[in-house]
Amino acid sequence: MTGLQKPELVCPAGTPAGLRTAVDAGADAVYCGLKGPTNARNFPGLNFTVAEMAEGVAYAHDKGAKVLAAINSFPTAGRTDIWKAAIDDAVSIGVDAVIAADIGAGAYLARTHPAQRFHLSVQAGASSVEAINYYCRSFGIKRVVLPRILTVAEIAELHSEIECEIEAFIFGNIGMMAEGRCLLTSYVTGQSTNMDGVCSPASHVHYAEDADQNLTTRLGEFAIDCVSCGQTTGYPTICKGRYDTAPKKGYYAFEEPVSLNLTKLLPDLMRAGVTALKIEGRQRSRAYVRAVVSAFRQAVDAYHAGADPDISDLLALTEGGKETQGAFGSKTWR
């Protein structure tokens, strides 16, 4: 044993079968969302009815795992009842925590269900001691999910000064936008990542492949990327597109299609005092969930036991076949 605190492995599920897959693969906790705009993965065919989430809670608890309900998009005027109802439903079926970002939703949760554990979503973008402690004192949050903009050293400093647990992303999709504040999809499609839960809604995505297998990706009326035959591609999001800019043509002006992979930083994160390690990907398949959760279960257990795990297979599941440590490794990233 290394003497390090063993962190909780928090894993994604977009469907009930995905939840069972994550639990069976070794998740300590599974996060998932209800159908509708109340969570940040509001895609067709994805998410849970209240009854399905209740069954998921029973399944997870039976196997010693937790369920965290992501109600982490931002209500707009005139429809706050949808978010309040989602919070009431999640609490009523016994989820272990509600993950919320909006201060109105958070205030409702803290006031109406004071005994319910509250995790502050990454969408809140809280990255300073002052901001996090404000949420702790005002809403009683027990955990903050950190934005993906901090180095491990900065996380360690935060840990010594904040009044709640830290959850950090370790694998999956990563964007450079200030989390919870990206308006690119809204600008192009009129639907909002933050208020409707749809980053690049599928209804606005169009792919076209020519006879030479060159692939053009459009979001709404805008071409956002074109890759030639044999080139890898990524999610159809504006931030991962390539553009003709003044200095460069075909340039990833915002961010390259690449996935976060902090396998090699896991011991550092554990030493920094991170309580929970989060895998992104509620929109991904059971095959992804099974592979990634199993690999990180082995990795966390191995590092905790002082061994060196081999999880090289994860590269095949990354966006664009590429991986990065993002800002966690160095601020020189992008």
Binding site: F43, P44, Y207, A208, T232, T233
Partner: protein
Amino acid sequence: MPPHPGSPSRTGLGSPGLARLLPPLPVFALQPLLGHIVASVAGRHPELFARMGEACHKHFLIDPTDLPVVLLLKPDPHRPELRAHNRGNTVGHDVRISGSFVTLLRMIDAKTDSDALFFNRELSVTGDVEAIVALRNALDDMDSTLADDVAATFGPFSRPVRAIFDFAERRP
């Protein structure tokens, strides 16, 4: 311009050589089997349709690029259909998903992640992306796999069919 959902298109453009070299198949002979498969899967998993929502009314063209046929799926909960068409015929559809037979098999057997297949260009999608995302997520919510269910429809021959699938999936 991207293909317009619902527009008819000819199948087979840009597909590998083997599929083009094979003579047209008597696809009518496949219809009873395909009808049995789709009815059986629909009967076992009625929850699929609720998860698919409006996508139930779309037409999905499934294009195994190395085979001489394509499949047209209409997942209507009241009258689901799966029909084979010879490659090169004009087949109206809303969305088309293309990949090698083994790639498509691995996907419906939950052996590999469809997003990763797409990132690596082993899988391509044109047309109504919303519909294919709904279908993918609905199929992914099955505790069994679609490949298992297809094998099960063969009754006493289900184990040999499953073994053939396993053999095919192990191919590099």
